[in-house]
């Protein structure tokens, strides 16, 4: 049998499974660190976006609009090919964590901002009347409530974040997509390579997506 899905091509893939395992581990590592960065940026800029301080709101808008309205690929290319001309050579792993983390931080900050704005302003006023300062009211009163609102969209963002680490394949990133491309194009056994790669993304993303829709449904009942 010949064709893209011939049996011997699958056997070759099984023989070289470690290539895919290496890429898979790398993807998970980049995703986790990028997620951490995105969450920190998301909460920081999300809170900034709801502040009474005008400059803070403007900074939030500039960050969000800039990151959301330029392609991630260009941002990654800038970090990878552009910065070295300015004398800054980041390792490709950091390019991935920073690029994907900052990009999704913008989306997460919008989710956090929406979550905060969904909380009735009476909550903040009540906190003030009890002698809370702004920071403490945010931390102890508003954010814990906003968290419930923001969690489903944030979980969806995590799914996008994981899938988007695949743009690193374009800058020799070493993650799953790069390894799949590399293996597939050397052997020309692209059929099994991309099916297995797709399945590997699916087994991390699908449970997260299902979890997000369960969270959404639970909110609907309460609301």
């Amino acid at each position: 049998m010949s064709g893209p899905f011939a049996g011997f091509k699958w056997l070759a893939l099984i023989r070289d499974w470690s290539v895919f395992a290496e890429g898979f581990a790398y993807t998970i590592a980049v995703s986790l660190l990028a997620l951490l960065l995105a969450l920190i940026l998301g909460v920081l800029f999300g809170v900034l976006g709801t502040s009474q301080w005008k400059l803070g709101r403007n900074i939030n808008r500039i960050y969000v609009e800039f990151m959301q309205n330029t392609p991630l690929v260009i941002q990654i290319f800038f970090l990878y090919h552009g910065l070295p001309h300015l004398g800054i050579v980041l390792p490709v792993f950091s390019v991935g964590v920073l690029g994907v983390g900052i990009y999704h931080g913008a989306y997460m900050s919008e989710a956090v901002r929406a979550g905060i704005q969904a909380i009735h302003r009476g909550q903040l006023e009540a906190a003030y009347s009890q002698g809370f300062k702004y920071q403490d009211a945010m931390r102890h009163i508003i954010l814990p409530q906003a968290k419930r609102m923001a969690l489903p969209p944030l979980t969806n963002q995590v799914v996008s974040l994981i899938k988007n680490t695949s743009v690193l394949a374009m800058v020799a990133g070493g993650e799953l997509m790069y390894q799949a491309d590399s293996w597939a194009s050397t052997s020309l056994y692209y059929g099994p390579a991309y099916i297995v790669t797709g399945l590997l993304y699916l087994i991390i993303c699908l449970p997260l997506a299902l979890y997000a829709s369960r969270l959404e449904r639970r909110m609907e009942v309460r609301a």
Partner: protein, 267 residues
Amino acid sequence: MKRFSMLILGMFITAALLTGCGSDKPSQSSGGTSDLNAIKDRGVLKVGVKVDVPKFGFKDPQTGQIDGLEIDIARAIAKKILGDPNKIELQAVTAKTRGPLLDNGEVDLDIATFTITEERKQSYNFSEPYFTDGVAMMVKKTSGIQSINDLNGKKIGVAQSATSRKSLQEAADKAGVRVQFLEFGTYPEIKTALDAGRVDVFSVDGSILAGYLDDSTVILNDRFAQQQYGVVSKKDNTALANAINEAITEMKNNGELDKLIQKWGIK
């Protein structure tokens, strides 16, 4: 529950679409001679060529014309099969797309600096080689790199789907130097990476490399591992593969191939 049944329905539709496409294909491409006849009936030969390799397959940005040694070979094959060298339809391919385009029938054959290897012969039909080249290395003039012996700890940018990685690794092992490989999708990307200092060496087949030479870079004299280029067709198109091979052999024997190589000033 509703959502779940929608999901199942979606899966069925996808499966139906996939198997639908799958069952179409074999009936079209079964039997060796019928493929050749299909091309004759169509009256045009669909050829996958490179558009970014000067002298082999290159699209002139001013005129939009694709020209080069490999296009001339395509014309010769069209003349052999269809009796008219102009009955070709060119399609741009890259190292990554040239295999899939053959499989799905978008092109009948690839003449695209496609290196012949034993592993690849299991997936496609390769003709007799029409050109032999060696892997070469391009470095920045300022890097001071003279030969493979200077490459300890250096990063080498290679193209995906290129055989240069394997042959360079062997050469590096022999020279006792440790090197790291980074793979990129296209040649311009490797050049960009070289300019940015992301890689220390840009390494592909020498003839391809020559097209990317500029004032700041130099191509080293070392050549590694002979790379033989062949015309590639789908595995089960045996009649087509035979016709291609006849055409190539004929061109080799009557000196036409040498004339073309000279015409394009290669080597």
